[in-house]
Structures are given as C-alpha cells and as structure tokens.
Symmetry: D2
Subunit: 236 residues, 4 copies
Amino acid sequence: MRVKLLSHTNDPEKIVAAAARCCYSNDDPDNLLESLTDDRVEKFLSKLVEMKHESPFEHASFTFSISGVSRALLAQITRHRVASFSVRSQRYCEFKDADFVLPDSISRDPRASEIYLESLKNLKSTYDSLLEFGIPKEDSRMILPNAAETSMVLTMNARELLHFFSLRCCSRAQWEIRAVANEMLKLVKNVAPNLFRRAGANCIRLGYCPEGKMSCGKFPTLEQILNDFNERKSNQ
Amino acid sequence: MRVKLLSHTNDPEKIVAAAARCCYSNDDPDNLLESLTDDRVEKFLSKLVEMKHESPFEHASFTFSISGVSRALLAQITRHRVASFSVRSQRYCEFKDADFVLPDSISRDPRASEIYLESLKNLKSTYDSLLEFGIPKEDSRMILPNAAETSMVLTMNARELLHFFSLRCCSRAQWEIRAVANEMLKLVKNVAPNLFRRAGANCIRLGYCPEGKMSCGKFPTLEQILNDFNERKSNQ
Amino acid sequence: MRVKLLSHTNDPEKIVAAAARCCYSNDDPDNLLESLTDDRVEKFLSKLVEMKHESPFEHASFTFSISGVSRALLAQITRHRVASFSVRSQRYCEFKDADFVLPDSISRDPRASEIYLESLKNLKSTYDSLLEFGIPKEDSRMILPNAAETSMVLTMNARELLHFFSLRCCSRAQWEIRAVANEMLKLVKNVAPNLFRRAGANCIRLGYCPEGKMSCGKFPTLEQILNDFNERKSNQ
Amino acid sequence: MRVKLLSHTNDPEKIVAAAARCCYSNDDPDNLLESLTDDRVEKFLSKLVEMKHESPFEHASFTFSISGVSRALLAQITRHRVASFSVRSQRYCEFKDADFVLPDSISRDPRASEIYLESLKNLKSTYDSLLEFGIPKEDSRMILPNAAETSMVLTMNARELLHFFSLRCCSRAQWEIRAVANEMLKLVKNVAPNLFRRAGANCIRLGYCPEGKMSCGKFPTLEQILNDFNERKSNQ
C-alpha cells in the first residue's frame, strides 16, 4: 500500500478561513483573504471547528495517489460519493504483474498462506490463458480476485475528508481502508495542521463513541455518558 | 442476472409534469397536480423532453432489485454517484452458493470454459478452507473473483436514469451492465412510458453518435453530420 | 405557508427494510421484500435506527408542495444539495398577486407593520410600472423583496430528510424554515411513522444538544455531559 | 460585479493528465505524474477533450471570490449542486452600504431608473427603521430586494466548471450570471489554458446549438444539421 499526496488547493487554511469570514462580513472575500495573518487563520479555524461550521472546509481539496491496494478496498472507497476517482481499468489494462494483497490474518497462518498463494498463482495462470485464447480483457478479468492490486487518483475536499476519517479511521473499519485513511490523515496534517487538528475516528472528534454495542471500548459510548448524566441528575 | 422494479414514486409522470408546470405558473403545485389530466400530462412531458428541461425528472424515483450479477458490474455501477445502493456485503455474508457469472465469450469457447470453471471451483474451495482455518470472512473473500455473484437494491431518479441509460445502453458499454441497463429501461417504460419515451443510448436521444472514432456505426457521428453541414454550406 | 405531501415511494418502510436486509443476506432483494411482514418491518427499522445504519433510508423519497413562503426561505432551503427543486421562476412568471410574507416580529409591532406594508405596496407599484415601461420581467424583479412569496416542488429521500430535520427543526433555525420543516415532519410521520420515529432536531436524535454555547437549554450540551462523565470518573 | 480567482489545485493540468493516464496504465499515479512533461500534458489533455473523457477533470478545483452581485444571481448560482458556497449572510450581516445592482435595461430608461432608484432608497430606509424598532436582522431583511448586493466564495472542479460554462455562457442565460461566468472562464483560462481550451457555451463545445427554437442563431441547431444530413442522405 502506497499513499501519496499529489496536490491540493493552494493556501488551504487561509482559503477556508476567508470563506468562513465571508459569511459574517460586509467585506469582499478577496480583501478578507489578504487581511488574514497566519495567527488569525489559526484562531479562526479552531473557532470554526468548535462551532461545527463545516461548510467552509469544502473550499480546500486534496488529491491523493493510492496504489498497491486490493479491489476489495476499491469497492469500499468508491462508495463515498462526494469524491472524485480515476481508477486503473481492468477492462483496458492487462493484469500483468500478479500483485496481490496479502492480509495479515492469512500471512500469520502458514496453512492459510499456502493455499491462498497457491490459489492466486493458479488463477493468474488461468487469466493469462484466457487472454491467450482470445477472451477479451474485460471478460478474462472475471477470474481475478478481490486481492488483485489496483491504483487510483482520489480527490476529496476537507469537509468530506473529515467525514471519511471519522468512519474509516475507526477500529470498526476494515484494516485495509483504515490503513489508507490513517496514511491520508498523516499527509494532510502535514500541509494543513489546523484544518485537521481534531480529525480522526468519530470518538476523536466527538469525545464519545457512537458505535453502541459494537464499540471498541476506548471511549465511553453515548449511551454510557447519557445514562450516567441522567442517573446523576435524578439523584440530585 | 435478475432485475426487478421493487417500487417507485407514486404517479411519477403526473408529479414530474406538475413540478415542471410549477416553474412557469403562479398557481400552487398541489393545485397544478390536481388539474392535470392524463392527456395533458402526456403533452406536457413530450414538451419537456423537446425543451431539454430535465430537472423536473428528478422528482420521480425508481427502486430496483438487481441480483445474479458479478462484482465487476458492482464496481462499475457504484461509480454512478447520484444513486443509492444497498449491496450484499462480503464482509458479513459468507459466500455459500458458489454462484459465478459466466461471460458468453468464455462459455462459447470449450477450452476457456474448462479452465475458467475449474479455476472457480478451486478458489471456492480455497475460500471455504480459509474460513475453516479461522480466517475472517473479510479476509477470506480476498480470494473471491470478480465473477462472484452479488445482489443489490438500487434507487435512481428519472433524470439520472436517463443519463445512466445514455451511457450504459450504448454498445460501447460492457455487456453485463448493458444488459442490466436494458432490463431497467424496459421496466421503467412499463410504468412511466412518457417519462422514458426517448430514453436509451445517447444516439437514441440525440439522433447522432457522440462516440467519435469509437462509434458502432449505427448512427452518424457528430463529426460526420457537422462536416457534412459545413461542406454543404460552403458549397452554396 | 402551505406544505403538502404530493407523492412518495410506494411502501417506503418495507423498501427500506428490504434494502437493509439485502446487505446481510444471501437472498435476493425481491424475495426479502416479499417475506417481510409489517411487524418485522417495524422491528427491523428500529434496529437500523439504533445501529445508525442510515444509507438504506435513501431508497424512500418524498415529494412536497411548498407555497406561500418567502424568497428568503428559498435561499436557505436550496442550499441543501441532496434534494431536487422545481421553483416558480421570477424570470418567467409575472409577480401578480402581491403576496408577501409578514414575520410575527413585524406584525406584532404597529409602527414596524405600517412602514413594512407601506414599503411593500410601494415596491409592488414600482415593479408594475417597470413592466409597463417595457423592462423585462427578469430585470423588473430586481425590486422585488425577500418577502415576495414563491412556491416549489421539493423531493428529498428519507436519509436527507432526517439530516434536514436535525438542522431545521432546531430552535436555532430561522422561524420560517423551521415551520416548513415541522410541517414536513408531520406529513412524513403520517405515511412512514417507523422511518421517522426519532426524527427531529439534533437533540431529539442524539439525546444531547450539539450547539454548544448557542444551545437553547432544553437538552444538556455535549460539553456538559462529557465534563460530568469525566469529573465523576476522576472522582472514583 | 467583481470576480477573482482566489486559489486552485496546484498544477491543475498535470494532475488531470496524470489521473487520466492512471486509468490506462499499470504504473503508479505518482510515477505517472513525475514522468509528465508540459508538452505531453498538453497533448494528453486535448485527447481527453476529444474523447469526452471528462471525469479526470474533477481532480482540479478552482475557488473564486464573487462580489457586487445581486441576490437574484445568488438564487440562480446556488442551484448548481456540485459546488461549494460560502455566502454573506443577511441574517448575521447588517445591510449597511446600500449597494444595489442596476440592470442596463433600467439604467438606459430615465423614467424606469428614477422610480427604481427612488424605490430602493425608500426600502433601504424602511430596513433601517425596522432595525431601529428592534426587529431582528433576519426579519428586517424581508424588505431587502433581489437587487441587494451580496458576495460569496465559490469552489467548483473543472468538470463542473465546463458544465457551468456550457449553460451560463450561453446567450439564453441571464445577463448577470452570464457576465460572472464569462469572467470566471477568463480567469481559469489564464491558469489552465489546456483544461479550458474548448470551454464556453454549449455551441462552442458541441459545434451546434442544442437550444432548438430558442436558439440565438449563431450556430445551426441540432435539428437543422440532422435534417440536412438526413435529407442529403435520402437524396443520394
């Protein structure tokens, strides 16, 4: 798995801060932008986060290269609809390099690894034979597994990224998309630390876990803190 | 492949016609709706199509059950973002029935069929063994191929359906999604013939083919008709 | 202000329940739909709400007629982007009936009412004169105020409605959009009580108020319950 | 009316080209990006436009400051849903400077100008009085006209911009949004000439006018070129 930040909106933090100020000011946005010092940007953004005024975060976009990931990950990540994807096509690209994802749960188990790798080899050879027999790539690929590696260019704006991280950095997310999300978070924090200061799984943002019975236990669930609050109140 | 229409907006044609009339009338939409006879709905919708006033088509939604389709189709269809999907999960559902899609190009070729079916049997048995070894479903599925069948509930509004059909009923679309699109078109035409009168591949809607060099040749390309027009004009 | 439910997806609750079950079942969605009794639908939907599995709610759409509302409301409501709108056009429809919205805060104050109504009369007469002078409708309307009434057809799916209600039924929302939202909520509860059982302002759904310092005080804020929880914990 | 380009994705053309190549290559997107020379970017982008492969254009975003525009323009532009807006709020900002848009059609007509400007003065004074009487800003603004100036920060990606220009640079679009669209087009052409080479009204992009009977006549309509083609063909 390789995740890189290819590009992003210039001056992302300043742009978001200027956009947010535009809502509450009679000044023109370009003047607001010019008048913003780094210090004021930081203060302004932390206030935005506190007030949950998220829409200005949409003005900053981030574009990633993601490669060496499974088609299973692809199926999950493309379900995020407020995002732009360009994905290597199995209809147009021959699957040549036989790169497959190997989950830890399988690599740790020698018996499992053996049949898994054997099976992958077998189906890659079937894929190659199908192509040789003249079967089109778009049909030959039917034999390719979820484990087959792919790569993509992905663009999301900062607001959608906050949402994406809240779901996909959670320990309930699948390991592969969680690893990708954590890498993405690291990369955007480098270039826009104030935009993503409280970014992460829902528990990081909310202070409690919204997953109910499925909670990992690191944070109290909403039910727990509400019950506690109500109990205490009725005892007073 | 099985496609069924599960539900749709009540009175889809009347609703779209009333919404369109609302743009040009001082009357309330509910009054406009009541005053619409079937005959006027039909005339109104054909005028809308002619004027390319498409936004009112968004008010009518259609919900489909699609099953017996490959995960390759899933990867394509979920790229349509103005749509709602509920998809059988390979993380939660064990892949039991070994239902795999068999492309015509493979079934027509005995050698190809043999290795394809053999390979599918092999990887299904690997999948079963991985589960037996205690590998979680979400990792065991890594060995499952694009051919593995899945099912989903899909909802699109009529405007997005028109767009979907324009791309996916085209002979350049992949055979599986084209077959699904054609089924969907048949089903919605039954319940809303006036909404979908000129629905279909781009050529059906436009009268020319926008695919340039990749055109199937059934319709003249845009380049052809434009060149022809300009040539004739310069000859006058 | 008049709000009516014009149409909606047939069998909205059953459709949502079948879509949700599809994610966890090897059965086809159309079979799942058939096998659902009303009783099981109800149980299933309350489980979905509890699990915060919201995406299946997208399969049920609801279409409203909204009229007698101000252009100020229009500016707010059209900012919801996961929605479809058909709106009476001031470019095409002459503003004839001089229907204007009168806010309570103004109607309660005789001095304010007097100048407000006088001003409205004045600008309506300016509008009529501009038209007489041959100024196009699209430019004459420049003099029309936010108070000018309009009407629209609006379609949202149940998931977006839940989100819409969480923001717009809140006491911090403006009075006019709050009134519209409350009417819409009443109407959808009539036809789909299980889908919208816990619908309403954020506090109704969450059990706490996420508005921080701007809270109306009816529910404890997140900060309050978290502080309380942490304090109690550190005391143990 | 003032339109400025505040920011955009770094290296927009290279990013789009790399994303497009990713679909057809086994190489990683970050490698593809590095290997792109300016010359190849240009060739690649013109091929994309020709092939109508538009989705990679989504990876480049552009953020504008738009000010000195009417609330009528706001109502139109915010109907584009694949876009991000931060708009000066009439609920929170007092309308102080009495800046109003003056359409040419009115400024050219002395009688119209007189009553228009008089009416604007009158309603601004009503607005001020309402505030003095203690009416909240959100209700006092009900008297403010469509002509009242506002400002906003707007972000759209290049694909949506192409769509926006195709509709709003057309002579059928209203003069104010057409002026804004033309300014935006000029600005993005400066920084990404290859992305926006054939951008503009639909006729510029298609070579014909899709507006049917409403056509301005600069380009032949689709009906004309199709009729011509079919006639000629039947004559052969």
